[in-house]
């Protein structure tokens, strides 16, 4: 085993060992603190291995692959299981483990008030999640990736429903599970088609054009579900019912990015279908703009960030649709840092004022300078202000998208950049500046270092992430040059304009509600997409199924019941024949014998 393989295996199994130990040792888990220590140990080990692996990859060298046969059919091995340590998995592993570590450290403070058993349960889920995510990231083929994909779905369900005594959290968990599970069918059927066409689960297979389009479109369905793209984005805002650090890790930085990661991983397949890439471009750009509009009118700070996540994932999908794997993947990386930062800062604020509503906050920057600074850095990075990490990744994305499909997606993404700056400006102005809006906000205070430390690390990465652009592209074998074309400059200008406008509107009146947004707010409250699903469910699915139920109940069951009834009736009529008296039975037997003898004689 070579060094990269050992590192990858350590990265994979350190959290798995923690999760397994906590799963089989309830005493350890129920005491809380040991569970947190074990999970953190697993994450630190995993992160260390990931860093060493990344350094190894940066020095070059061939991709390392270690597999053992998994599914056999006769003498042929259908699928293998193992680890693949190449540039893509190494950088993703580093991002995932780093963010996971930050979030787990943050959780030490954030979840401190939980009872020890649920504290331990929380960290057990975290260890399980990190293992699942690493299975996905290090997968050497698409089948193992699918396994990891489903595992993160399960941990997402568990963590959204962490406060399972709260009905809305339980409902949100089920909704997230169902919606993503529906989409996962796409990945499963895509794998079937891929296997039927090539006999393997490799992502670098060559396919016929029709098969390539079928496979990638099916895969893209799964991406739409997992990465919360329109129209399957409905689960992500509801998923904010989970604890805020969970939202930061799963529903902003890593798990939802798994969809984008799938496209990056299976890029050789996606490159074979122009159709799918155009669909991705349209869906991505559309989602980016649509979700940004919805983010404008949310009053729950986590909902704003959730819609923002949808929107930024739309950026990534659009970039990949435009054929820029680098743009999509790098935006995934920087987004992981600054969105995790934003969520953790929001979590810190929520922890202080015990409310998700931005209207309940206000003036927090003064009371909580660390949190305020972190949130502002995250917002600037998200908006793509030059110098921050988001600027460099958006630069790559906009550059790639510019000339595609008659500039329409490009314009949509530029509009999104403006809206992003506007809604982030709104949150910053309303929640962190101005006067405190209540008793709680006025007496908010900074939490301990376990919560501040991760903010500092992530803020530094959000601030300086742009410096990684060149090494990042080199890792994937592409040259890098800062383009500074029309798009990025325009986007930066629009972002600054968005902030300025937000300051003008909300700086004067924190509860301002511009007429333009009034209609949007009404539309958002109407929950049109959710209503559409409900309509589809009630009017279409329920009607069809009640029709089927009627057929089943009265025609199918009726026929069966009739047969049963007639049998009973016939039995009732034949019943006198059965006297229960042995002589009568003997008579029947003898008559049978006589009949047989008569037949034999007649022959």
């Amino acid at each position: 085993m070579t060094r990269p393989i050992v590192l990858a295996l350590v990265g994979l199994f350190a959290p798995a060992a923690a999760a397994l130990l906590l799963a089989v040792a309830p005493a350890l888990r129920r005491r809380g603190a040991p569970a947190a220590a074990l999970t953190l140990l697993g994450s630190v080990t995993s992160f260390g291995a990931a860093l060493l692996l990344l350094a190894d990859r940066l020095h070059g060298g061939p991709a390392a692959l270690a597999t053992v046969p998994w599914l056999r059919s006769g003498d042929t091995v259908i699928a293998e299981i193992g680890v693949c340590a190449d540039g893509v998995s190494a950088s993703m592993l580093a991002v995932v483990t780093l963010v996971a570590l930050c979030v787990q450290v943050f959780s030490l403070g954030y979840m401190h008030d939980e009872q020890p058993p649920s504290f331990g349960r929380y960290f057990t889920y975290h260890a399980l999640f990190l293992f699942s995510m690493n299975v996905l990231v290090l997968a050497p083929n698409l089948l193992q990736l699918f396994g990891g994909w489903e595992l993160v779905g399960v941990t997402s369900y568990l963590l959204i429903g962490f406060y399972f005594r709260k009905p809305s959290a339980a409902r949100a968990a089920v909704k997230a599970f169902w919606v993503t599970k529906f989409a996962d069918m796409g990945l499963l059927f895509g794998l079937f088609v891929l296997f039927a066409a090539t006999g393997s689960f490799r992502w670098d297979a060559h396919l016929a054009p029709a098969a390539a389009t079928a496979v990638t479109l099916l895969f893209f369905l799964a991406v739409v579900g997992k990465s919360a793209q329109f129209p399957l984005h409905v689960w992500l805002p509801d998923a904010m019912e989970g604890p805020t650090p969970v939202s930061a890790l799963l529903h902003a930085a890593t798990m939802v990015a798994a969809g984008v990661f799938l496209i990056v991983r299976a890029n050789p397949l996606f490159e074979q279908s122009e159709t799918t890439r155009n669909v991705m471009l349209i869906v991505g750009a559309g989602t980016a703009l649509f979700a940004a509009c919805l983010a404008l009118v949310q009053s729950d700070i986590k909902k704003v960030l959730a819609y923002s996540t949808c929107s930024q994932l739309g950026y990534m999908v659009a970039a990949l649709g435009a054929g820029s794997m680098m743009g999509g993947f790098f935006h995934l990386t920087t987004h992981a840092f600054f969105k995790a930062l934003l969520f953790l800062a929001a979590g810190s604020a929520i922890h202080a004022v015990h409310s998700n509503e931005i209207d309940d906050m206000g003036g927090l920057a003064k009371r909580m300078p660390w949190t305020g600074a972190a949130f502002v850095i995250g917002a600037l990075a998200l908006a793509g202000i030059p110098g921050f990490s988001g600027f460099f990744s958006k630069d790559l994305v906009l550059e790639a998208v510019e000339h595609r499909l008659g500039h329409v997606p490009w314009i949509a993404l530029l509009g999104t950049a403006f809206l992003t700056a506007f809604y982030m400006g709104r949150v910053v102005v309303v929640a962190f500046f101005g006067a405190p809006s209540g008793e709680k906000a006025a007496h908010a205070h900074e939490a301990g270092w376990s919560m501040r430390g991760p903010l500092v690390v992530l803020a530094a990465l959000s601030l300086l992430g742009g410096a990684f652009t060149a090494p990042f592209t080199r890792l994937h074998g592409e040259p890098y040059a800062l383009h500074l074309g029309v798009g990025p400059v325009l986007a930066a200008a629009l972002a600054l304009g968005g902030f300025a406008l937000a300051y003008r509107v909300y700086g004067a009146d924190r509860r301002a509600s511009p007429a333009l947004l009034e209609g949007l707010s009404k539309a958002a409250r109407s929950r049109a997409v959710n209503r559409l699903y409900e309509f589809g469910f009630h009017r279409v699915a329920l009607v069809v199924s009640s029709g089927l139920a009627w057929t089943d109940r009265y025609l199918v069951d009726g026929l069966i019941n009739m047969i049963g009834y007639e049998t009973l009736e016939g039995g009732r009529r034949a019943r006198p024949l059965q006297t229960g008296l042995a002589p009568d039975y003997v008579l029947a037997v003898v008559l049978g014998v006589v009949g047989l003898a008569a037949w034999a004689v007649a022959q």
Binding site: L587, V590, V593, V594, A597, A600, V601
Partner: protein, 178 residues
């Protein structure tokens, strides 16, 4: 000629006593009539050259089964005697018709079968006791062993079925099981 006469006597004895077996009201008498039928059959066996079988018939049937039957009758007979059977006119007639038609059919088949009484193509060597023993213990030893197993099963089965069960400890829930 004397053989035919002997056969006629034996057959008449067997048939007559068989009729008494099925007609006798008193069960003990029926059992005794059955004994006579069995003895007549044993005589027939002897006439047919199966003297060993005749001996077995006497020992096993007349000696064993008959005794068993008498025991059975005596154990199950109530002290006040058998309740007089309700006069049933349909049943004897129905039984007679069925039995007669069965006899008619089979007898017709026997009579109508050609060449039943012709002598076999090659002369038969009379079956000796030694032949029988070799046949049982060499050729058909598996069937023999299976039969002994069956007898064992019948013995155990009979004991289990007829055993008087003590209902006490089985049916009453004990203190410990509560």
């Amino acid at each position: 000629m004397s053989a035919t006469l002997g056969f006629g006597v034996v057959a008449a004895c067997a048939l007559l006593s068989a009729v008494f077996v099925v007609r006798a009201v008193d069960l003990i008498r029926a059992v005794l009539w059955l004994g006579i039928t069995l003895v007549a059959t044993a005589a027939l066996y002897a006439m047919l050259g199966a003297s060993f079988l005749a001996g077995v018939q006497l020992l096993l049937y007349v000696g064993g089964v008959m005794t068993l039957m008498v025991f059975g009758v005596m154990i199950t007979r109530r002290h006040e005697g058998i309740a007089p059977t309700a006069t049933d006119t349909v049943r004897p007639v129905r039984g007679a018709v069925v039995a007669a038609s069965l006899f008619g059919l089979v007898a017709a088949a026997i009579v109508n079968t050609d060449g039943l009484d012709e002598a076999p193509a090659r002369a038969l060597r009379p079956l000796t006791l030694a032949d029988l023993g070799r046949s049982i213990l060499v050729e058909h030893v598996l069937a023999f062993e299976a039969l002994s197993l069956l007898l064992l099963a019948a013995i155990i089965g009979a004991v289990v079925i007829a055993r008087r069960r003590d209902p006490g400890p089985l049916d009453e829930p004990t203190e410990a099981s509560r």
